[in-house]
């Protein structure tokens, strides 16, 4: 069985590497149709897909599960006391005693999800959310944890989740990249977190905006090289025509040269499609208001979320939205080692309305059915306070933390897994990042054990040799 898979991969890779073979002289429209069918997956999906695409809302820095979603009454009653068990041996910083969340918790919606009072808008879509309270990992540093979350490995450079998805499923729209990352950060793995490593280059994430520190504001985020600095459309058409004429007089070329000619024609089409896809001026006033695109503190993330929806509508497979180094933070957004109350208040304020708007909007347009939305960071935060100066904060905490999903065939309104009574260790239905990846691929119709790529004589997977699909969260 695997022997067959192997030979199929080879032919598929050949197909991908020669995406444009042999279409010389054919009209562009038919050309594009050929691409879509040729790239819709020779071997995949392995099984019925519940979602066609992903929107990953990445919360950089480590949002505090115990302050946001994972309600632990013990933290209030034991406030100021030491934890009754020893903390993990490898720590990022020294820890103090149990620290009660500065906010009260309440149950929201029919589902009865716990959310702290910090959330004003998210309760409106609570019943669409599937809460996963049992994420667990080991690395306490941002870099290692971010790379694990994005690529499945904390140290070696491996293809990112989006690249694997692009490799496995291809794209639904040949005029746009299959994997787009909106306003990515350059910190903690940086471009490695959307890189394709050894997978063919077309599977790497294409950034909207320059990955920097701080990163590009959403209103300035653009794809690169989409426009000639001076020449117009007609001049570029002439250039491409000349390229083709000269190419046709060359003897003894080969398929690679032909492919290169076709790629120019494609690029020309992308130049038309991309600006339209990212043009927010086409959004109605109602939509802008829904997301909070109004110049206030929600504006930046609202723009990112609207961009995500526009790309999802146009068939982009994997869209990452990063809440990272935006004002007033000039570093890891959610990383409140101190000033937890102030910092998390600002963070939630920035994303609460835009995310709620995104889910409502996707639902209204019928997109939520086949779009999987994932919310989460590289780890959570300690139930204990961090020792140090100034206002109280919490340290990095990989041993148990929360993410949530919505749409894409995931059971809405349920809670999966749990942590102990202090929110420290994930104890029930533990979900590692490998398990998360296996589950996400499964939802897309891909068996994570069979999505492999041979590099330097070794077969690689996103999930290495691990990964259990969390079947309980699926409809």
């Amino acid at each position: 069985m695997s022997g067959n898979m192997q030979s199929n991969f080879t032919s598929r890779r050949d197909a991908l590497n020669r995406i444009c073979v042999g279409f010389g002289g054919i009209a562009l429209n038919s050309l594009l149709q050929e691409y879509s069918s040729a790239d819709s997956g020779v071997n995949y999906p392995h099984q019925t897909a519940r979602a066609k695409r992903i929107i990953f809302l990445f919360m950089h820095g480590g949002p505090s599960h115990v302050d946001l979603f994972d309600y632990k009454p013990k933290l209030y009653s034991e406030n100021g006391k030491p934890l009754p068990f020893p903390e993990r041996s490898v720590q990022f910083a020294a820890r103090g005693n149990i620290f009660a969340p500065p906010w009260k918790f309440r149950q929201v919606g029919q589902s009865g999800h716990w959310m702290s009072e910090i959330w004003n808008h998210l309760p409106e879509v609570a019943d669409d959310l599937c809460m996963i309270h049992s994420l667990c990992e080991t690395n306490v540093s941002h870099g290692g944890a971010c790379m694990k979350l994005h690529t499945g490995d904390e140290a070696l450079l491996r293809p990112s989740m989006g690249s694997w998805v692009s490799y496995g499923l291809g794209t639904e729209n040949r005029n746009l990249p299959a994997f787009v990352t909106i306003c990515p950060t350059s910190l903690h793995g940086g471009v490695n977190n959307f890189g394709s490593a050894f997978l063919p280059a077309q599977h790497q994430g294409v950034p909207l905006g320059t990955p920097g520190y701080p990163n590009t504001p959403a209103k300035d985020a653009k794809f690169h090289y989409m426009r000639h600095p001076s020449a117009g459309r007609r001049e570029q058409e002439l250039q491409i025509e000349l390229l083709r004429n000269l190419h046709s007089t060359n003897k003894f070329g080969g398929t690679d040269l032909e492919a290169r000619m076709a790629s120019f024609e494609l690029a020309f089409r992308m130049q038309m499609a991309a600006p339209e896809a990212t043009d927010l001026s086409r959004e109605s006033k109602m939509t802008r208001e829904l997301y909070g695109m109004d110049g206030s503190e929600t504006d930046n993330f609202a723009r990112q979320c609207i961009l995500a929806r526009r790309l999802a509508e146009r068939g982009v497979r994997f869209i990452q939205v990063s809440h990272a180094n935006s004002l007033p933070f000039n570093n890891e957004q959610w990383d409140q080692h101190s000033h937890l109350e102030k910092g998390h208040s600002i963070n939630v304020k920035q994303i609460d309305k835009p995310i709620t708007g995104l889910i409502k909007d996707l639902k209204a347009r019928g997109l939520l059915e086949d779009t999987l939305v994932i919310w989460g960071g590289e780890f959570g935060r300690t139930p204990t306070s961090q020792k140090g100066n100034g206002e109280v904060g919490r340290d990095h905490h990989p041993d148990g933390f929360t993410m949530w999903m919505a749409g894409g065939g995931v059971r809405p309104g349920i809670r999966y897994g749990s942590t102990d009574e202090f929110g420290y260790h994930a104890i029930e239905d533990r979900m590692t990042i490998h398990d998360l990846h296996a589950t996400v691929l499964h939802i897309l119709g891909i068996d994570h054990t069979r999505l492999t790529y041979n590099s330097n004589g070794r077969e690689f997977r996103l999930t290495d040799v691990h990964g259990e699909v969390a079947h309980k969260i699926l409809i």
Partner: protein
């Protein structure tokens, strides 16, 4: 055997197993017999029917196979194609139109060989072929991974590689130097370059923020083992970190035998001096010895004037009140000291009991590279603040800790409060000492002498003008290491003696000793003439760089999961011949390039051959090859008249760690304005110049013998819209002069345009000029030809 292991699937750490069912199960014996794991054999040159065709042995091997399949080789390439091919191949740049014309006129039989030799002798050769090796050596100027700190001295290794290719350093020595340059017996003028060579082991990707120091070290060593095994031997040993290799005969014990060698080695920047400065450095060293001896004498004398009974001395970190940070030493060579915890008003207070009243010399022991003056307040007397901590000692680290005399002060018997303040930063304060002195005048004059000597010592130590640093390795604590169970560095298994691969090995077995890490022995083992892999792997690499495909197509994988050689006898012949010629890479170039096999044309229209061998694995014609990223950029600069052929005197520095958008913009401008060859551009891992990465430049994380070649629309977008290319096209347009299509063709393609092409060009020009005028149309034509297939490929 393999089926049985499927049950334990989950427990097995590496992914190699996923490949399990795809290959035939090898018996143990079969695995040792794998062709690449036995020494190259000696084959005689095969006979061929077309006796006139072969120019050298390579042709015999190639033609014999072609004749066997009844395929006729393509005709020899035309001279214009040949000269462009050989220029790009050896120096990565196009020939000038003058050189082309000269060659076309020269009909002597030696003309081609002369060009090959000229190019091999030019300094541009090392810049081209050194860069090939840098792919293999995963050369980078930053740590990559989770963070991206600059490696400010890595470029010395890069220059070492370029230089080594230019001087045709025998490949076995090249290996010796990179693995063990510091351990080789060297003349003074050789030592610097050999220590620089060990940068090979130091420049890998590292996860610097890893909190688990044991794992961090194990990961760094794993990276070294991976690079050494892939680059020199074309096999992956890393699988064996967690379990016995599934396909190749590499038991876990072998991995930890190698790991022991690297555990006994440490990565550390080394200070070197240029050979011409050796003498000066020797003098400085001699003077330092004199100074240190004198200081010792004076200190001894000094002790005669002090009351040894009443010395009060304490560690700076033993304060009773204070807000300073205590920085603890990690080992015996590091002291524990206090300093500021970031900018603030720092203080530390001490309660001191004075046994006998009198005049005390107050001395502080601290390290400071730059002056961070502070004050001493005794018993809260703010009117008599004593300035302290203001001296510099040459550096911040423990080796620069030294006693500095601060003042003389009269102290009464009893308790006193000493308050040390420093704002905003503080020198690294280790200890404080109070010494009661008798003859104050004598003490003072002696003190002056001591101070002057110390001052001179600092001047000598900080005179680094002629010294420079390199990334390098040296032996550390020599010891064998334990197997890490399932690859977990905290789970220790059996102790393994340092050594090499036990099943893939030359006949002569070497062993490590207790005196050194074993890197020297590793290099010796690797360069044994009958080592099954070393010569084959490099010969195949060089063949690949000439032809665009290897005799073994999996360049970095000679193991059982790699491919069989297309011409096994040729590969072994070349490997043995290479060793016979003193491991000379330039000799191998000549042999390959002077063969008819190399000089064939690209005519692939032979229908019979096409049917029998569509992939051209028998070499019946020359493959059209795409320029590498650097060749493309360098060529664009060259034809536009903007390339500076000299090597730069200092490296280009760009911001690598946490760059802001403004930094990135500045980096881009630096790249775009840089006029030196691409090999000198910094390789900031994960933030490489996109012009290069989009065209296949590797990300320098692992050995890359074969760059990926893709054709994606993002490349086309770059070609069409990149401002750098557009501005270079404008330079080119200006340099050639409007309308001179013939000159433009000669410059770009080493030929003149055909009438058909002239027709297309005229059509383009007329239409374009109507929209934007003649000047723009001409610039646009230049731009179009720069991004055309013909400019980007070599025939």
């Amino acid at each position: 055997m393999f089926i049985a292991e499927l049950g334990g699937f989950k427990r097995i750490i590496s992914q190699c197993i996923a490949f399990l069912l795809t290959i035939n199960a090898f018996g143990e014996e079969d695995r040792y017999k794998h062709w690449a794991f036995v020494s190259p054999k000696f084959y005689s040159v095969p006979k061929v029917k077309t006796e006139g065709w072969p120019k050298n042995e390579i042709d015999n091997f190639i033609l014999a196979e072609l004749e066997h399949s009844n395929i006729t080789p393509a005709k020899k390439a035309g001279p214009a194609q040949l000269i462009r091919r050989v220029y790009y191949d050896l120096i990565g740049l196009p020939p000038s139109p003058e050189r082309v014309e000269e060659f076309l006129k020269d009909h002597s039989s030696e003309a081609f060989a002369r060009i090959v030799n000229d190019l091999l002798d030019s300094p541009q050769y090392g810049e081209r072929w050194g860069r090939h090796w840098l792919d293999v050596a995963r050369y980078g100027d930053s740590n990559g991974g989770d963070e991206n700190h600059a490696y400010p001295h890595a470029w010395r290794y890069r220059n070492y590689v370029i230089d080594s290719f230019n001087r045709d350093l025998p490949y076995d020595e090249f290996i010796n130097e990179q693995l063990a340059g510091d351990l080789l017996e060297s003349k003074p003028d050789e030592r610097s370059r050999r220590v620089t060579a060990t940068g090979f082991l130091a420049i890998g990707t590292k996860i610097l923020a890893e909190k688990d120091s044991v794992k961090k070290r194990a990961d760094i060593i794993d990276e070294q083992i991976d690079t050494v095994s892939r680059s020199f031997m074309g096999i992956s040993v890393s699988c064996a970190r967690c379990h016995d290799h599934k396909f190749d005969p590499i038991p876990t014990a072998d991995y930890y035998a190698l790991a022991g060698i690297f555990h006994s080695t440490k990565i550390e920047d080394q200070s070197l001096s240029k050979p011409e400065d050796e003498q000066r450095e020797e003098k400085k060293k001699a003077r330092l010895v004199v100074i240190n001896n004198q200081l010792e004498d004076f200190e001894r004398k000094f002790s005669e004037f002090v009351d040894s009974e009443s010395i009060v001395q304490w560690e700076a970190e033993k304060f009773i009140r204070g807000n300073v940070s205590v920085i603890r030493g990690n080992n015996d060579n590091e002291v524990t000291y206090i300093s500021d915890p970031g900018s603030q008003d720092n203080f530390a207070e001490y309660e001191v009991k004075i046994p006998t009243d009198g005049t005390y010399s107050i001395d502080f022991r601290y390290a400071a590279e730059s002056s961070r003056p502070g004050s001493l307040i005794i018993d809260g007397d703010k009117d008599n603040v004593i300035p302290v901590l203001a001296d510099v000692t040459g550096g911040w680290s423990s080796e620069y800790q030294q006693w500095n005399h601060e003042t003389y002060f009269h102290l009464d018997t009893g308790a006193h409060v000493f308050r040390v303040e420093s704002k905003p930063l503080m020198s690294h304060l280790d200890q404080i000492r109070l010494t009661r002195v008798h003859s104050l005048d004598l003490v003072k004059s002696l003190r002056l002498k001591i101070d002057n000597l110390k001052k001179e010592r600092i001047e000598i130590q900080s005179d680094k003008n002629n010294a420079y640093k390199v990334m390098a390795v040296l032996d550390g604590d020599v010891a064998d290491t334990n197997i890490n169970l399932r690859g977990d560095p905290h789970e220790r298994g059996e102790l393994v003696s340092r050594g090499f691969l036990s099943k893939i090995s030359p006949r002569e077995t070497l062993s490590c000793n207790d005196r050194s890490s074993g890197r020297f022995e590793l290099a010796k083992w690797m360069t044994q003439p009958d080592h099954p892999l070393t010569a084959r792997v490099i010969v195949n690499r060089i063949w690949y760089w000439h032809f665009g495909k290897g005799i073994v197509s999996t360049i970095d994988d000679f193991g059982t999961t790699g491919t069989e050689p297309s011409h096994p006898e040729l590969l072994d012949y070349l490997a043995n011949d290479f060793i016979r010629n003193g491991w000379s890479i330039k000799t191998l170039h000549r042999k390959i390039m002077l063969s008819n096999t190399y000089q064939m044309g690209t005519d692939n229209s032979n229908p019979l051959a096409k049917k029998k061998d569509p992939e051209n694995s028998l070499y019946w014609h020359r493959d059209v090859r795409r320029l590498e990223a650097e060749s493309f950029r360098d060529s664009v600069l060259m034809v536009s008249g903007n390339l500076n052929m000299d090597p730069p005197s200092a490296p280009l520095v760009v911001k690598s760690q946490d760059p802001s958008p403004a930094d990135l913009l500045k980096n881009r401008q630096s790249y775009e304005n840089y006029q030196y060859r691409s090999v000198y551009l910094p390789v900031v891992r994960s933030h490489l110049y996109d012009l290069l990465t989009l065209l296949g430049f590797p990300n320098a994380t692992t050995t890359v013998g074969q760059r990926s070649q893709t054709t994606v629309p993002t490349q086309a977008l770059l070609m069409m819209n990149n401002p750098f290319l557009i501005s270079q096209a404008q330079s080119l347009a200006l340099r050639i002069g409007e309308g001179k299509v013939r000159e433009l063709y000669l410059t770009l393609f080493a030929r003149i345009p055909s009438p058909e092409e002239m027709q297309s060009i005229n059509h383009f020009f007329e239409k374009h000029a109507k929209i934007s005028g003649n000047k723009k149309a001409w610039e646009s034509l230049c731009h179009t030809l720069l991004i055309s297939n013909e400019f980007l490929h070599v025939w």
